[in-house]
Amino acid sequence: MLGFLKRLWATIRRPSVHYSLGFLTMGGFVMGIVFWGGFNTALELTNTETFCTSCHEMRDNVYAELKTTIHYTNRSGVRATCPDCHVPHDWTNKIARKMQASKEVWGKIFGTISTREKFLDKRLELAQHEWARLEANDSLECRNCHSDESMDITRQSARAADFHQRLLFTGEKTCIDCHKGIAHQLPDMGQASLLIGAGSAQDVSSYLDR
């Protein structure tokens, strides 16, 4: 093995015998375009709603639920597709998310949520991953479209305006804190999900298990 690596290294280091420098540079350049273009095309192809809903897990569960919400149909006809909310838009974070998504390929192959029942059982865990992600990045995917600066609270209902002024603009809360279940149905989160500033699950169990 080591011998093979040494020979490989020696080959790479040796100047080319048969090919001209021009051919190698141009070839490298062209192949670079082909491979990079191909990579990006594949990346964009997997970043479409058509791709997401080509699996029945997404089409029959979450996509079906999205259709009744304001993010699918509304007065102005602007809508969000799956990757708009679930994949970061800037490159580094997008690649990181795409690498995480390899877990979803694993799930598809082994049928982790292949039936409605399996999906419902796993739904809370899956939702919690998304909520944790959005809480950590200050609801970045919401803010790709909804910005504080462009949000005219005088055109909102008094209730919404008050909430946004008191909690959102001060940074006390982020979008997902209040708008869970805006695009898909909520799993059973338990009573305590309504408590704000309550003790952690460990605190509660250490108190109750005494």
Partner: protein
């Protein structure tokens, strides 16, 4: 002969009466014939004023003064309670669900909202700006009480 005349007159009246009734009865179809599709009235807008509305009698479930589009109320979650629950009102400043909603049918208070009061929009509804189909002559009980008090002498 006279009897025959009365009969004819009655028949004419009956036919005319039914024809008149046909035009004067308010139906959702309006004057549209049965074999054509009636044009539906424009959809009314939900009232979203956030201003509490009067209760017409003390037991009336309060009306919802805001839109509730897409609010999920099912086995898993109750969107209304995310603002109106006991624990949420400090942040939301919304009215808390009434304590009666914690009471089961044996009048025992439970620790949380009882299942029989869980489905909010069984009783609480939004209002729209739709024009009433028929005129409403409802009189508030306070006005009735005042009326009775003022006319006590004369009515007795």
């Amino acid at each position: 002969m006279k009897r025959k005349l009365t009969l004819v007159a009655a028949l004419v009246l009956a036919v005319a009466g039914s024809a008149m009734a046909q035009t004067s009865i308010a139906t959702l179809r309006g004057g549209t014939p049965l074999d054509t599709e009636a044009e539906p009235p424009a959809m009314a807008k939900e009232i979203n004023s956030d201003l509490r509305q009067v209760r017409n009698y003390p037991e009336q479930p309060p009306l919802i003064p805001h839109k509730i589009d897409g609010y999920q109320i099912d086995l898993n979650a109750n969107k209304c309670l995310s603002c109106h629950s006991r624990a949420a009102i400090e942040i939301s400043q919304a009215p808390m669900v009434s304590i009666t909603h914690f009471m089961n049918r044996d009048n025992q208070f439970l620790a949380s909202v009882t299942p029989r009061r869980y489905f909010c929009n069984q009783c609480h509804v939004v209002q729209t700006d739709a024009r009433p189909l028929v005129e409403n002559g409802f009189v508030d009980i306070d006005q009735v009480l005042d009326y009775v008090k003022n006319n006590q002498g004369s009515s007795d």
